[in-house]
Symmetry: D2
Subunit: 387 residues, 4 copies
């Protein structure tokens, strides 16, 4: 049996990127609830993200979303973030909130609209150059709602053209990461609905184009760890958007709906070489804290990833291989589960304390007064959300 002290060194340097928008208000089509203390500026979002990192040591980067996080001076923003102790990370484009994009952006039948969307990505690359970001993440809301509404094939070909134009612009040290999503906001077809489509599209671009796997973007029953394995095997797993779901793209806290699934996913990441200093797979949250507090929601999330990583590292892989080779179904399953059922929380608390971090980041945050302070000081202005 592997012990915590054996795997502890591998926990060093684990980093989970936080999405700036997790600190703004979000909700459903029915209602967006606001909460006291919600940021009114990108700087306040970064301050909140940095707070998560301060209490956990797990979240050294903040992802930006353009245009939500547009600013006049990215160099200044970068410096501000550095002061707070974090760096600016992935830049996310947005082609779903402009009236011109009602029937598509990179796939739109009208060349002018496509060019507008391509230009938006060029702008994002400019932002990346200014912020030092490596990854341009593209999630497309494009699709159609009714059979016959759109020419599926023509859209796919146009998507390739548009992505090629964007890919040609990214720098040698930058990457294009294409996310896929099963459905929503389009309800009949989505132009990048599955990993196969994302894989086929990025493969046609080149080496610096990879796939983003959002854990909430699959059909019911999909074996996500299998996809993780396959994309790592094919050398095309670029990044994760972590969250969890019971039904659709619920965007709940990672690990909250099916912790065993998160364990299996992280196990395959490790198994496939996607974890650790030699891997360039990016780990990121993409969640909506509709009803729970945002900052502790993010703290809880990165802790969930860390705890599950520790458990996945605990799997006795030699014993597992031996049981697998012997056809010992119950034995292999039990070795695998032994790690999952191991309670790593006390060990992790000690591990944190050794590093000058609070044993319990959740309690420490609650006791810190930060929440009261932002609730009191962030008065007036407009709370940020998805618009």
């Amino acid at each position: 049996m592997t012990t915590f002290s054996q795997i502890a060194p591998q926990l060093e340097g684990q980093a989970i990127e936080l999405p700036s928008w997790a600190f703004g208000n979000s909700g459903t089509r029915f209602k967006v609830f606001g909460t006291p203390g919600t940021p009114r500026s990108i700087e306040e979002k970064i301050a909140d993200a940095a707070t998560v990192n301060r209490f956990t040591g797990l979240a050294p980067k903040v992802a930006l979303h353009i245009p939500w996080d547009k600013t006049d001076d990215y160099a200044a923003l970068r410096a501000y973030a550095a002061e707070q102790g974090v760096a600016l990370g992935t830049v996310n484009s947005n082609t779903f909130q402009d009236d011109d994009y009602k029937f598509g952006a990179l796939t739109h039948i009208d060349k002018k609209v496509r060019q507008k969307a391509i230009d938006h990505h060029f702008e994002c690359i400019d932002v990346m150059d200014a912020t030092g970001s490596r990854d341009l993440k593209i999630w497309l809301a494009e699709g159609s709602n009714y059979p016959g509404q759109a020419d599926l094939r023509g859209r796919q070909d146009r998507l390739h053209e548009s992505l090629s134009a964007i890919y040609d612009r990214i720098g040698e040290e930058q990457r294009l990461v294409l996310e896929y999503k099963f459905f929503e906001p389009a309800f009949y077809h989505t132009d990048v609905p599955d990993w196969g489509t994302s894989y086929a599209q990025v493969s046609a671009l080149g080496e610096r184009a990879t796939v983003c796997l959002d854990t909430g973007h699959h059909a019911p029953g999909t074996n996500i760890e299998f996809i993780v394995m396959q994309l790592l095997r094919l050398g095309k797993l670029g990044s994760f958007d972590f969250n969890s779901r019971f039904y659709a793209d619920d965007d709940l806290i990672v690990g909250s709906a099916d912790p065993f699934q998160l364990f299996r996913i992280i196990f395959e990441v490790i198994r496939g070489g996607g974890y650790g200093p030699d891997s360039d797979v990016a780990f990121m949250l993409d969640q909506c804290h509709n009803v729970e507090d945002k900052i502790p929601g993010q703290i809880r999330s990165v802790l969930n990833v860390q705890e599950m990583t520790a458990r996945a590292l605990l799997v006795d892989r030699d014993a597992l291989s031996a049981a697998q080779e012997a056809g010992d179904v119950l034995g292999a399953h039990e070795i695998f589960n032994d790690a999952f059922y191991t309670d790593v929380r006390a060990d992790l608390a000690a591990w944190r304390e050794e590093r000058g971090l609070p044993a319990s980041p959740m309690k420490a945050y609650a006791a810190s007064g930060y929440q009261q302070q932002i609730e009191e000081s962030r008065v007036g202005g407009t709370q940020l959300s998805w618009t």
Copy 2:
């Protein structure tokens, strides 16, 4: 084989209630697209709904949503609707857009919040009294997002108490109709997730409490016509919210995603006595025209219901029973499908013309100039949506 002329008399009097909110803007959590001509007042919504009825003869009633359609003078609104040729129909309550309802309304742990939600329903009943509406439809957005967040059982008991208070207030000629929904906006549990729960709750209230079946509110793969059959058998099918879906509660045009399913549903309605002058099952649309035009979207929808009703009436039920009794699987299936595959559109066009209606309501609407007129005249003000 049954012929169209044999079933034509049964098409008389078919009525599909339109939701006032279908004429306002709607969308997803990502974006709500506006369109020229969108109503700025309940009167304009009613004018649009009346237009659908004028072109189809199928939509003599408009459902209201409180508070979206609140007005100072319901008697005047009722008179205005009558002038337009329609009546005011079902009153829909709303307990999902007030900050107090973040953690529940009729199920809330705080008695004051529950009473507020009950009082809102009392207000809805007052509206019904003023409008002459029969049905109070209750859809609850209540639930929780995380395991442990809520006490499922306590909420169910409080739901019963709250519904009892509301039920006690409705008049002898009025009905309480309780809708169920599988998920959204709550993502872990929904307080009325399935027909069984709605049935158990309304059965505990009394005879004037029934179930509303929204065709988009089920788990993947659910046999909806079976539920229709069962609720009719149990005497508890109060009304339909028609729409269609590929994935979740997509709220697409009824019949657009799976026309054969709509056929099977309507067949069971007829089979179970839920269609025609002797039935009090209410048929209503509940859709979101996110990307398509709203008025023709509603016209298309009521036509879909009418066309599928004609096909379902065409089923040769004697022949079907004979094949079923003989264990002739393929024969029974073929008799059933013969009706589905019959093209009733020309017959329905003629049927309409006989009644002074346009043969093609879609074309007639497009040619009528109504759309241009509202686009030109409805300038300024605030387009209505779900807020």
Copy 3:
């Protein structure tokens, strides 16, 4: 925080009934793999079941399936079981393997076939009288494969008639338990597809008729613990068939696919009064060990239920209620999860040893030589399976 020693007393007396058929061969429509040592008689099945109980102390009863377990002398069988240290439990009827039932049994359109199926249940009741069994469990494979093939409503009415005849025959101390199943082996409609239908049917029979919840018999995404809560609330939860699933009715080892779901289910059982000496809810396994060893598969299963029961008992319900009442989403979720993540395995090992049971039933079984002994001695004859 609740401790193990506080909840330990509640673990006394936990009993999970084993299905006799779990010890025979089972498989898919593609292949049934045999294994050395598989029973050739009901006595050998009982011996294996008793072995599970000997190593775990959790499985004092064996469920029978008629006709698979038919014997000439049930009194002798009962005595044999008693000698082995177990009792005979639930009697399961079978109406899906006779050619006459191709188009239904209790719902068949032909009265003679229905009576044959009713008579089979009478025979099962006779067996119950002889074995001292309390529960007659009815799972119906009935349904249809093609729209139009069957009259859904007529079948439902006939089902009521048939069940009434059976219910009238059961003794005052006996119960009729009606299982529901989403699909399979029927692929278009199932006559008892959901809890609502089972509830409506058993409610029409009387107090001694209740619902059986098989954890694998739901649509994708169904919140099963909600149904547990609701059936307990309505006083109609008769029994559980435990197993687990990723896709359809996979009949895998309980707790192996989604352990957190099992935790939530058992928590609701406890919350709703369905656990412990004052409850008459029956807990039973219904699994297929297609590729893993059968006896250790059953041992693993009852241990999974016990371990998860311990975790669910560990939930600090006072603290949970307080957090729920305060609207503290993250706090409530964390209190709930604290119990789930607690590693109870060492405590349970000690608990077992105190009671003269092996600390690790899995290892003790492997070391016992029982498996080798049955593999060597059970030579010749026909291994039992589902026929």
Copy 4:
């Protein structure tokens, strides 16, 4: 509006391959029902398949399954088929019914087992050489039932090795077609679960390796026509296994569960160049007639494909493109649906009669006496099924 006479020429030459096993008995894990007249030999299966072709003109080929259809003299079998008016088609391998394959075949951890499975495919290629078959179709039942049971990545790598060995053996005019399946008979992971995996595997082999799309092998809600479009676009759609489903891999008659979906699939086939003399996409049935008659079940199936092909050809693609380009959602949807709702059955009946075929193949078969004849003459022997 396109007319039937315009599209009629494109119906010439349509061919849907029949699976030999559709004429044998099949069922579920619960029960296989036999029927009078079921073939006892591969020759009788071919005679039945040829009968389907005689009545419809749509089914000139019969697919074989090895070892189910093994024979000593394939040249004689080929001649026999030719006499009956049909040719031998796709050869299907079987790696799921040998005890050695319990934990995998082409992916098995033991090299000897893998070689045995590879050798089986070599044997299939020998059969192809003898029968003149073009396609070797590989469906793999391989996977695992429990997390931890198997090394997902190692299996994928071994799969590649095994497929490479097989691919190297097929002739210049032959193809390897790799089928994917979401789940069953494995319940946790399947080694080729989705089109992406099949695509990645066949792309690594070479040009003569393509993907087989079975319409029943997807997750709930999957947009299958999108996959058709994508595979055609990527040049990797090798063949179809047609059937239909409500839940899992139900293997029902193609077009019986969701006819509109079949219409959309065939529309994308045509749109993408997969239909007609210039395409080498193979169309095949893969169904189980569990409760309905087999020969008329196959007749009904090929007719469904033909009828839906006629409807899909009727789509006015110029008008559709114009509406799509104009962003006319409802207009495009209506043009698309106009074709679906057109009743082509009378036109097809006339079309058949012009070609010396019966207007109604179903009625003609029923009147032909073939069924009675085989029921009377096929007495004794063992009815064939999946073993």
